[in-house]
């Protein structure tokens, strides 16, 4: 499923994003599996709440971390995320 740049993105209803105290990491949980996230991936996914599209996620992150030029990295990660079913659109 390709990433649609215009559609808002929401985190998958059949996965769970959660902070793991023992690992000091955000993780994605799904049937019989777990993915450990680095901080930037976790920050992106936390913004996937069904109200923002790619451009809005990028601009929120650039604002939050007072930086610019995140478009390529964020888009690349979201492509991976949608392929893995961690996020959905519509």
């Amino acid at each position: 499923m390709p990433l649609d740049l215009d559609q808002p993105i929401h985190f998958s209803r059949t996965h769970r994003l959660q902070w793991e105290e023992a690992q000091q990491k955000q993780v994605i949980l799904y049937p019989e599996g777990m993915v450990e996230l680095n901080q930037s991936s976790a920050e992106i996914l936390k913004l996937c709440d069904g109200t923002r599209n790619v451009a809005q996620i990028v601009s929120d992150l650039e604002q939050k971390f007072a930086t610019a030029g995140l478009t390529n990295d964020v888009t690349a990660f979201l492509e991976v995320a949608i392929q893995n079913g961690w996020i959905n659109q519509n």
């Binding site: 059949t14 769970r16 793991e20 949980l29």
Partner: protein
């Protein structure tokens, strides 16, 4: 024994075998052959304590299994406690006895996913293998699981009696809308070991079925995830035993015995500890059983000098014990094992058995057979 306590990774996966009771009689059941000996079951309070202690150490994936976990009346209470603690909880069920009301009740309690097993793609074969008329109900349950928003995992155990149905099994998974399909080639422990001559497919059957499964995997990419459990008798390297002994997995048997893998109960001299006597932390870090095969000090040749020892940890100790009589041996699945010939012997014996005029019957998993065989 090996294993420095300081370097232990915490458990991540807790398999809670709530009961050995089961309405099904699958002849490849992974429960121990002598399960009927272990009548005692942990109380609700015991399970609540175990869940709390393991979660505190870092366990996050939780499987409610059995037997049939639905036979435990306190399941919703355990599920709720698990959710409150932050586990991702998986119900591993035959679907037998699962009603829409129960599916809703468990969802409200916080259950994350339901894995339903189906034994075959046809009613006749499913009901024969399960030893119970259950096929239509299982399909109905699969639909209900989807309807109530759970990720739906379908699990089909593959063996000689159903491997010819691979294409139909995959089509059934697609029709039922499975999000995940676990195609589990039978692993030959417990009941499956006892029935191996009747269950082990030929190489030709396996190769044909695998090609069908791989083509399907491509076709449904992005829609359905396939977990393919390899039939290790047709591999030349062993599976990585439990991702490393005492590194990731913790199984608690119905009577409270803690096991580094769910077959470890059959290994001699491990003195597996019971949660009635020790905390999970003591069990994980200090018990003899969990330190038994930690690290590499236990290894003999060919594992000791093998450049793949960090990849597969010498393979499966239960398999080494079952097939060579010595759990310290390399898993005989490995082509470097001096005992590798026993695998071909097993394949040959199974092939011969399938040609024999009067094939012996499958031994179904039930309490009567358990008592007879133990």
């Amino acid at each position: 024994m090996a294993g420095s306590i300081k370097t232990n990774t915490p458990p991540r996966w807790l398999l809670a075998e709530l009961t050995y009771a089961c309405p099904l009689q699958c002849p490849y059941c992974s429960n121990p052959i002598d399960y009927a000996r272990y009548q005692a079951e942990l109380s609700t309070e015991d399970w609540l304590r175990v869940l709390t202690q393991a979660r505190k150490m870092g366990a996050v994936q939780l499987g409610f299994s059995g037997g049939e976990p639905l036979t435990r009346q306190d399941l919703p209470e355990l599920v709720k406690h698990a959710r409150d603690l932050g586990y991702y909880s998986n119900l591993i069920t035959s679907g037998y006895g699962l009603t829409e009301e129960k599916i809703i009740q468990l969802k409200e309690a916080g259950l994350d996913h339901i894995q339903v097993s189906i034994q075959a793609s046809s009613q006749e074969l499913n009901d024969h293998i399960a030893g119970t008329a259950s096929f239509e109900h299982k399909k109905a349950v699969a639909h209900l699981v989807k309807k109530h928003g759970y990720p739906m995992v379908l699990c089909v155990v593959i063996h000689r009696e159903n491997i010819h149905q691979m294409a139909e099994i995959l089509a059934m998974a697609e029709e039922l809308g499975a999000d995940y399909l676990e195609i589990a080639n039978t692993q030959y422990y417990g009941w499956a070991h006892a029935n191996r001559d009747l269950l082990l497919p030929t190489q030709e059957q396996f190769v044909k079925a695998e090609a069908i499964a791989q083509a399907f995997k491509k076709k449904v990419e992005g829609k359905m995830k396939i977990y393919y459990v390899v039939p290790d008798f047709y591999e030349d390297r062993p599976k990585a035993c439990m991702n490393g002994w005492g590194t990731t997995f913790l199984t608690i048997a119905p009577d409270g015995v803690a096991l580094p893998c769910h077959s470890a109960r059959d290994l001699p001299g491990l003195d597996c500890p019971n949660v009635n006597d020790y905390s999970i932390e003591e069990i994980w870090n200090e018990s003899k059983a969990f330190n038994f095969f930690r690290g590499k000090d236990w290894m003999k040749e060919p594992c000791r000098s093998c450049d793949e020892q960090d990849k597969d940890f010498g393979g499966c100790h239960c398999q080494a014990y079952l097939l060579t009589g010595d759990m310290y041996n390399a898993d005989p699945v490995c082509s470097k094992s001096p005992h590798h010939g026993v695998i071909q012997d097993a394949i040959d014996a199974a092939a011969q058995s399938s040609l024999a005029a009067n094939e012996k019957p499958l031994i179904f998993r039930n309490s009567k057979n358990s008592r007879l065989l133990s």
